[in-house]
């Protein structure tokens, strides 16, 4: 049922065009109103090989609403193939064709023999948010484009983690996860970002396993791949940030993949040594400042809320106030995620609210006793409320206005250091 979206944290399913955009040389073809792409895209970091104003679009008008837009969709796809040089054309449907009953599947099927693959995903805005839309696009690739493989490539691991663009750090995070996997002697396969693309999509069925690093997004995809390709999956719910979680992550992946534990331990030791070299040098800053207190709150999607909570508790020794998960997590996933928030060092348990109403979140933040200046890591909406409480604010989740990220990452040992740098860059802006 319709509900109040006060301080909105996500977009609609059609914003999965950003998932397509993150795949090199894959082109979203939109069967939607003329302005959906501009609305649903980020205004920075969007001018790569394809930008939103390159996306072909049927730009549905009043006539199409009455008479249907299938003819227009057909000429749009047909000419997109001629005008724009892409490797994969992904037709995405918006609200209107879905309501008026355009048969998109039928139109797309006419392009089955075209020289470049054309697939489609049903991403009407009312079908769910962009986290669900992301899953729809991956499912479409698995169902309509890929075929099972007779052979598996030894050590090949498909990595699924962040939702591109919705997560500011998606590119850096995928690159860092790949590096870590590589250090274990495995071969990472990621379809998003630089140097990847259709060749990596083609590798998906050959992987030994799928590694899903996410509390819930992507679970339906890896299950589908298990069924269609027989690919097992490791579901690691916490995006690893910092030494504690990253070492745990490497051990778990290593054990799942059958990597020699001595090798895993040597990788961990190398990274931990450097991590603690830095931590030890800057322990003075952490301990001897007057503005970062123990209690913190995150307001982010499940991915970041959980990951940052674990890092701040298990590595930096902070204590969680209530945490807020704002991605409209499916109800059947909430219990398992809430359990993860309770699995912290020293038996510490973080209370978590699955809440999409920003007003309620702010009211609760204002009521909470942080025993000093609150530390709030969240969306841009939390800036004003944090300032009103004289707290410290870091913009880590959508919407982001306070930070420019090209390929920075919060993942792994390095990512933990980056997050610390960002938190203390805020802290040093003031004395007390």
């Amino acid at each position: 049922m319709a509900k109040i979206l006060d301080k909105q944290r996500y977009k609609c399913a059609l914003a999965a065009m950003q998932t397509v955009q993150a795949i090199d040389r894959a082109l979203p073809v939109l069967h939607s109103g003329p302005g959906c792409a501009q609305k649903l895209s980020e205004s920075t970091g969007s001018s790569g090989y394809f930008s939103p104003n390159i996306f072909p679009c049927t730009s549905i008008n009043e006539k199409d609403v009455v008479f249907g837009g299938v003819k227009k969709l057909e000429t749009t796809i047909e000419n997109a193939l001629k005008v724009i040089d892409a490797d994969l054309y992904v037709v995405l449907t918006g609200c209107i064709p879905q309501i008026v009953g355009d048969d998109t599947e039928e139109v797309v099927s006419k392009f089955a023999d075209s020289p470049k693959p054309v697939i489609y995903a049903s991403t009407a805005g009312f079908k769910g948010n962009n986290y669900k839309g992301h899953e729809q696009v991956i499912d479409a690739i698995v169902e309509q484009y890929l075929e099972p493989s007779d052979t598996k490539q030894k050590g090949l691991v498909n990595i699924w983690a962040d939702v591109p663009y919705q997560d500011l750090f998606w590119l850096g995070n995928y690159r860092e996860l790949s590096k870590l996997i590589e250090e274990l002697g495995l071969t990472p396969n990621v379809i998003f970002g630089y140097g990847n693309g259709i060749k990596n999509i083609d590798l998906i069925p050959k992987a030994e396993f799928n590694l899903l690093v996410s509390p819930w997004v992507g679970l339906q995809n890896v299950r589908k791949m298990e069924k269609k390709f027989g690919t097992p999956f490791l579901h690691y719910r916490t995006l690893p940030i910092g030494a504690t979680e990253t070492s745990k992550f490497l051990r778990e992946v290593g054990s799942f993949a059958g990597v020699d534990s001595a090798k895993v331990e040597s990788v961990i030791k190398k990274h931990e040594d450097y991590f603690y070299y830095l931590i030890s040098r800057y322990a003075d800053l952490f301990l001897e400042n007057r503005v970062i207190n123990k209690q913190f709150t995150t307001v982010a999607d499940a991915q970041y809320s959980l990951a940052v909570t674990k890092f701040l508790v298990n590595d930096l020794g902070l204590v969680p106030a209530r945490q807020y998960v704002v991605d409209d997590t499916p109800k059947d996933q909430r219990e398992a995620i809430a359990q993860e928030f309770k699995n912290l060092n020293y038996g510490i348990q973080a209370e978590v609210s699955f809440e999409t109403d920003g007003f309620k979140i702010h009211e609760e933040i204002k009521q909470h006793d942080y025993h000093g200046y609150p530390l709030i890591l969240g969306g841009y909406y939390e800036k004003e409320v944090t300032e009103s409480l004289k707290g410290n604010f870091l913009n880590i989740s959508w919407p982001v206005q306070d930070k420019v990220v090209l390929d920075d990452s919060y993942v792994g040992y390095t990512g933990g250091i980056r997050l610390i740098e960002d938190i203390y860059t805020v802290a040093v802006q003031r004395f007390n």
């Binding site: 109103g33 549905i60 009043e62 000429t75 409209d328």
Partner: protein, 488 residues
């Protein structure tokens, strides 16, 4: 078409003033056909995505201080709320005021499209009113709510009985018009319908309504207008509801962009007798002077205006003449909304730059009062001509033109447009700020910016050398009108 404030529904620009989004030819041809009434717009059988009118309309309303916008639709429609939140906070801060404007969505889902969700909407409106006590509440439809026929007018009428501030229905279905500027008209219509009050008896004022986007030149314009004993009221960025209530009392209405302001200007004139300053806009020397004189005429202050012009000319004209020497003979292609394209073409002509092709994102055959837009009339009267097209930001057409004409520069006003020129190796100037060419001072700055842009081409040269463009060789070999079809 007379302005009707008795209904919340406003006809689109296409239907009201014959606006088009598809045309290729020349400026003269476009103007001649406009004048004799034979101009017909074309449609395209292939197009790229552009802009949603709801984004234009609701962003305008969300710029007003301490109001609420309730966007009834799926979460993608209300995504503008996040940028509006940012804008309202930073723009207010810059002015040294505060705004508690709130923009919420209703996160409509599939069930709602089947069973409707007017009851949920009613509760959301009441809840928003309770939470924020806004000074006015705008309730907007979306494509989805429009098609399933949610009756937002009735809901608004119902809740109005329980809420003591104006609650106004705004019809923002994105499929209604390919012209996003229709959104500007929709926001004006909402303000006129729900907020503007009749002139109070006995109130005398020296205020002039000044419709702009983001008021970057506000302090400067306040100073200029002091010379004429006029006080500008800037709209809608940082406006208060109280200011809007009294728009009907101003001496005149003027705007920075005809596309942005003509509905409000004409409506205030028609309904409340507030004169609308109709002239070419303030870009460039001729534009600035023509506009100032028109204000002088309308408000009976021509002497003061002439004095100001004389003083400023002495300061700036020699400097502008000096920079012009470096610009002679350069060529340009530009792509902007029609409120700017034909104005900036005129300025480039003033500076000695040759326009080889001008794209307007749409084209209004006439303004609300039935006249040909003043910018077009000026170019015609001045015997200026160049190739021109009308395309709603169709990037593939822009790139085809840039590739064929290889101009010295491309000028554009819309996000995501200049970057493609640069990838093509064409220096580009992003004329985003509406005051970038305003008056003598900014015309001089604009000319200098062009000189700087042309001087150092490192960025675009480096990028273009390493960029593969997304269009096929086939497309570059086609005529730019390849996909245009006679409108049926």
């Amino acid at each position: 078409m007379p302005i009707n404030l008795n209904t919340s529904n406003l006809a689109t620009r296409e239907n009201r003033i014959g606006s088009i989004t598809g045309y290729i030819g020349s400026l003269k041809d476009l103007a001649t056909k406009t004048e004799c009434g034979t101009l017909k717009g074309c449609s395209r059988c292939f197009s790229q995505s552009s802009t949603c009118l709801s984004m234009c309309g609701l962003s305008q309303l969300a710029a007003i201080r301490d109001v609420a916008i309730i966007h009834h639709g799926p979460s993608g429609c209300s995504v503008t709320s996040s940028s509006s939140y940012y804008m309202s906070r930073v723009m207010a801060k810059k002015r040294g005021v505060t705004s508690s404007t709130i923009y919420v969505g209703t996160d409509m889902n599939e069930k709602d499209t089947i069973f409707g969700s007017t009851e949920a909407l009613r509760k959301i409106i009441l809840e928003v009113n309770k939470r924020y006590q806004p000074k006015a509440i705008f309730v907007s439809s979306s494509c989805a709510t429009g098609i399933i026929g949610e009756d937002i007018d009735s809901i608004v009428e119902e809740v109005s009985e329980e809420i003591d501030v104006p609650v106004i229905a705004v019809h923002c279905e994105g499929f209604k018009s390919r012209i996003w500027a229709t959104g500007f008209d929709i926001s004006d219509h909402a303000v006129l319908q729900g907020i503007v009050k009749p002139r109070r008896e006995g109130v005398s004022t020296n205020k002039i309504n000044f419709k702009n986007f983001f008021e970057s030149a506000r302090p400067e314009i306040i100073e200029i207008f002091k010379n004429f004993d006029l006080e500008p009221t800037f709209l809608y960025c940082n406006s208060t509801v109280e200011e809007l209530e009294h728009l009907s009392e101003a001496l005149a209405t003027t705007c920075i962009c005809g596309t942005l302001g003509n509905y409000l200007g004409n409506a205030l004139e028609e309904k409340f007798g507030v004169p609308y300053v109709r002239s070419i806009n303030q870009c460039g020397i001729v534009g600035f002077e023509t506009w100032l004189r028109e204000i002088g005429k309308v408000t009976n202050r021509l002497d003061k205006v002439e004095k100001y012009i004389e003083e400023q000319r002495a300061i700036y004209l020699p400097k502008i003449e000096e920079v012009k020497k470096e610009l002679q003979g350069l060529t340009a292609v530009l792509g902007m909304g029609p409120g700017y394209t034909f104005e900036v073409s005129r300025v480039l002509n003033e500076l000695g730059i040759k326009v080889v092709w001008a794209l307007a994102w749409h084209y209004d055959k006439k303004y609300e009062n039935g006249d040909v837009p003043p910018s077009m009339k000026y170019l015609l009267d001045s015997n200026i001509d160049f190739e021109a097209s009308v395309a709603d930001q169709q990037n593939y057409e822009v790139m085809n033109i840039l590739n064929k004409y290889k101009p010295d520069m491309y000028l554009s006003r819309h996000p995501g447009s200049t970057v493609w020129a640069i990838k093509n190796g064409t220096p580009a100037i992003y004329v985003a700020d509406e005051y970038m060419i305003f008056g003598y001072k900014h015309t001089l700055e604009f000319a200098k910016t062009i000189v700087d842009t042309i001087k150092n081409r490192s960025f675009e040269k480096n990028l273009a050398a390493r960029t593969k463009l997304p269009y096929t060789k086939w497309w570059y070999e086609q005529n730019v009108d390849k996909f245009l079809e006679e409108a049926k």
